[in-house]
Symmetry: C2
Subunit: 347 residues, 2 copies
């Protein structure tokens, strides 16, 4: 009943030709291996006729190549990663690669386990948004001569291929935009982390306000508290402004924006019209919100494309171990909307 798929052996039997010959023909080595035109034709026709497709698992076992790439992110349910994932997927498919997605939750243990699992599965390459503590594992992975591209983050003292946003520059630009529009007391709302992309955003902010002679006000919310009452209280205090009254905020990531906006709404509906607001990561609804919300948009398409450019380069390169790593830094795109147009007086 369970009709087994046709294998190369079945074809060999049917055409009275050796397995080897068929394999050569299928892999386009017919000419090279001096297989006669007639035999080539015969095989190709038959393959077409029975719609034979080689068993990829067997191919993988033999060649050690799987034609599978893996995209390891913090959370594939986060729209930022999901969008990049889609872009990567599309590019990969065009070249015959499939993409496994995996969410690490930014957890080192989970990341490590995933790397091992995929390594066992003989995936051909890794695109990784690394969790903070897996530098060693990344190094090991690279040492085992498998293509690795880091995305969104990197490690200062590890020579890897990566594709990053110019986080420092982007934060600078966003902050300067607030300053240019007359804001004088800007808070930078961040999550508590040592991930370099966040650190750089904080630096960009800090250097810019300092250069303008304005006060530095960095608020770090623990990752675990972004949805909790405790986190809300931290924000409440900032907005209440014990020392000096804040007139604007820069959110460092889309985790925070949503929750903080919600909170701002909760504290005082008029506040969101008075406060200058700009955030990293754009969202379609920012345009619709009132006020529409300014953002520092990441070039998702470019991020995905660059990751795949590097990946394909690595996949082709026979001795990639000896070739230089590629490091790409991309510019963000500042989207100016109503939330950063300083109003002379609140209403």
């Amino acid at each position: 009943m369970k009709n087994k798929r046709t294998s190369i052996k079945d074809i060999a039997k049917a055409l009275d030709v050796s397995i080897t010959t068929i394999s050569f023909v299928l892999n386009g080595k017919g000419e090279e291996r001096k297989i006669s035109k007639e035999v080539i034709k015969k095989i190709e026709d038959y393959v077409e006729e029975v719609n034979y497709r080689p068993n990829q698992v067997a191919q993988s076992l033999r060649t050690g190549k799987s034609k599978i790439l893996v995209f390891m992110v913090e959370d594939i349910g986060n729209i930022f990663f999901a969008k990049i994932g889609r872009i990567i997927e599309d590019i990969a498919y065009k070249k015959g690669y499939k993409v496994l997605f995996a969410s690490t939750d930014n957890d080192d243990i989970r990341s490590r386990e995933l790397i091992n699992v995929f390594h066992e599965r003989q995936v051909d390459g890794f695109i990784i948004v690394p969790s903070p503590g897996i530098k060693k594992d990344i190094a090991q992975l690279m040492a085992s001569d498998i293509p690795v591209v880091l995305c969104d983050r990197y490690f200062e003292d590890l020579d890897t291929n990566y594709v990053m946003l110019d986080n420092y520059g982007a934060a600078k630009e966003g902050t300067q935009h607030l300053i240019d529009n007359g804001y004088q007391n800007i808070a930078f709302i961040n999550i508590e982390t040592e991930q370099n992309q966040m650190v750089e955003r904080a630096e960009g902010y800090k250097d810019t306000v300092e250069a303008a002679g304005l006060p530095v006000n960095i608020v770090a919310i623990p990752f675990s508290e972004t949805h909790s009452e405790k986190g809300k209280n931290i924000l409440r205090k900032v907005l209440a402004g014990t020392d000096s009254k804040i007139d604007s905020v820069l959110f460092s990531t889309n985790y925070l924006t949503q929750n903080c906006l919600e909170l701002i709404n909760e504290i005082s509906p008029s506040l969101k019209h008075e406060l200058g607001i700009i955030t990293f990561d754009d969202d379609p609804f920012f345009k619709i919100n009132s006020p529409s919300i300014s953002s520092i948009a990441q070039p998702l398409q470019a991020i995905g494309e660059e990751c795949m450019n590097i990946m394909f380069k690595l996949l082709k390169d026979k001795d990639r171990k000896n070739s230089e790593t590629t490091k790409i830094t991309l510019d963000a795109h500042l989207i100016e909307r109503d939330s950063t147009q300083k109003k002379k007086h609140s209403f």
Copy 2:
């Protein structure tokens, strides 16, 4: 240099034990096959020591099982699918399965190609959000005795496992909510499609307004025009209300909501405060928007869980061909917000 991974053969050599014995021990068949305690211990210790991990590709080839599931959706960059994907991924990993994601763009050709590709790769099961015209391919896939669960949509006349929203009921509930709040002229904004989930939503809407003696007004925007000027014009006309003035809208899916809200904003900023608005698929920003937007939220967690319940049942079931299909219909969750609180007069 390129230190090959240790294989079962290496262990055999190192311990002077046969390959077979090791395989039995590794697969927990040591007792059953009467391997002595000492040998079992010796093998287990060594395996631990050298951190041996079996080559999964070889396992797959031999057993025909890959421990990979595939989740085929319309677009993994769409937050609705991305969220479900994340839930499925988490459940899968707990049982040692990995998940391949694939976006079909709702295109039949692409869907068909993907199904074939994954079939070749010997994935163990499919969770599919089917494009409109691949009923036959789904049937074929099921005939080849591989677990298939449809998600979000199904085919009327094909006996499959599926997990669906009660689209009819959900649309009914949403529509009734508008009626209860005093709206009298409700438009249903849909994409032009024959996908059953959309048809059912339209029916739910239609039956409800008709039962209340209110006019039926179904607007179908071609899929390709959701972002175009042409699509906008269709909407403009509806909102202008040539025949009768519309006082509220029900959006059938999250593709539309964003664009239409944008357009409503564009046409007249005050309109969004006057119009009753409710939409399928919740979004975090609906809560923050002013007015906050009512929605018919899908139970993402439950959808993911039910898909996986069925999948695991199928994976276990030896003769699933003869067992009954499982059909699950889930209820939506109506979230009432400001956008459906009828205002006595516009402002």
